[in-house]
């Protein structure tokens, strides 16, 4: 007869459990990505059959032109991209108290061969300028940062300093 060893109280060691779960955790850490998608949001104009020309006073318009060599024109004057922000801040601030139809409109126009990065840098400058003015306004009037305003204050902010950016179609190659 074969004798079997009978042990009392069989236990299994849970000590390595932590290691196994660590491995699982590591696996998930490696295979997944916490992908925060960041970027510059824009809204395209709806498609229209025919272009409608709306007369606009020059005082309202800030026209940015970027050509294929990377030269930037703001209202006909050559400007470096990092300076766009400062120039615009002044003009936006001066129009805070004007009625809705007199706010600043920034138009960005590029060439077909313009570098995309330059366009984004310019757009970034314009957006930064608008945000800066909103920041200052929120700080001065409500005493809070732009991101901490409540809904009512936000409405006033958007109302006073609307971000109007027009993306004009690029010129055809001549």
């Amino acid at each position: 007869m074969i004798k079997r060893n009978k042990r009392e109280g069989g236990e299994f060691s849970a000590g390595s459990m932590a290691d196994i779960t660590f491995l699982l955790l590591l696996f998930f850490l490696v295979t997944t990505n916490i992908d925060v998608d960041t970027g510059i949001g824009m809204t395209l104009p709806p498609k229209v059959e025919e272009d409608v020309i709306i007369p606009m006073s020059k005082d309202r318009l800030a026209a940015l032109l970027i050509n294929e060599n990377g030269d930037v024109l703001l209202n006909g004057e050559i400007i470096a991209i990092p300076q766009i922000g400062e120039t615009l801040i002044e003009r936006i601030t001066s129009k805070i108290d004007l009625p809705k139809k007199k706010k600043l409109v920034v138009s960005i126009k590029t060439d077909r061969n313009t570098n995309y990065n330059l366009y984004i840098q310019a757009l970034d400058q314009v957006k930064t300028a608008f945000y800066k003015v909103r920041d200052d306004y929120a700080m001065g009037k409500f005493g809070v940062k732009r991101k901490d305003v409540n809904d009512e204050q936000k409405k006033e902010l958007v109302d006073k300093i609307p971000i109007i950016i027009s993306i004009a179609e690029p010129e055809k190659i001549k």
């Binding site: 932590a18 779960t21 925060v36 990065n117």
Partner: protein, 137 residues
């Protein structure tokens, strides 16, 4: 006088039996907070950098268009031509009316291509776009 340290008679051990539970919690957190890599990207691209960037709050609304260094356009799992963008995006918009199109365009692309895509998007009536950019360090 004699100073004698009182020593507790109990065992000085940290109970580790709850360790797996804690790590399981961590694991669950990561499983919930992350998404699995679901799309393979065939094009090579470097995103531009910017300061005035914002996060897209609702990730479920986002649909991507990749444009690589060689000006190839990828939507979902296919390389497509420019004039096919309209149809694809129109179909997407029917399913998801307020879709945000995230343009992940290589920073050395030419504006002509970007504008062509934008024109296609306008025709498809997918007007909310987002120029994907990395935060400037």
């Amino acid at each position: 006088m004699k100073f004698e340290k009182k020593r507790a008679g109990a065992k000085q051990e940290i109970p580790t039996s709850s360790m797996p539970d804690i790590i399981f919690m961590l694991l669950l957190f990561f499983m919930v907070a992350t998404t699995l890599r679901e799309q393979e990207i065939f094009v090579k691209f470097t995103l531009p950098e910017g300061k005035a960037i914002e996060k897209i709050e609702n990730k479920r609304l986002v649909s991507y268009i990749w444009v690589g260094e060689t000006e190839k356009i990828q939507i979902d799992d296919n390389i497509v031509k420019v004039n096919a963008v309209k149809k694809i995006m129109y179909d997407k918009r029917v399913v998801l009316p307020n879709v945000i199109v995230s343009l992940r365009v290589d920073k050395n692309s030419r504006m002509g291509l970007v504008t062509d895509i934008q024109q296609q998007l306008r025709e498809a009536d997918a007007l909310r776009i987002n120029y994907s950019a990395m935060p400037k360090p």
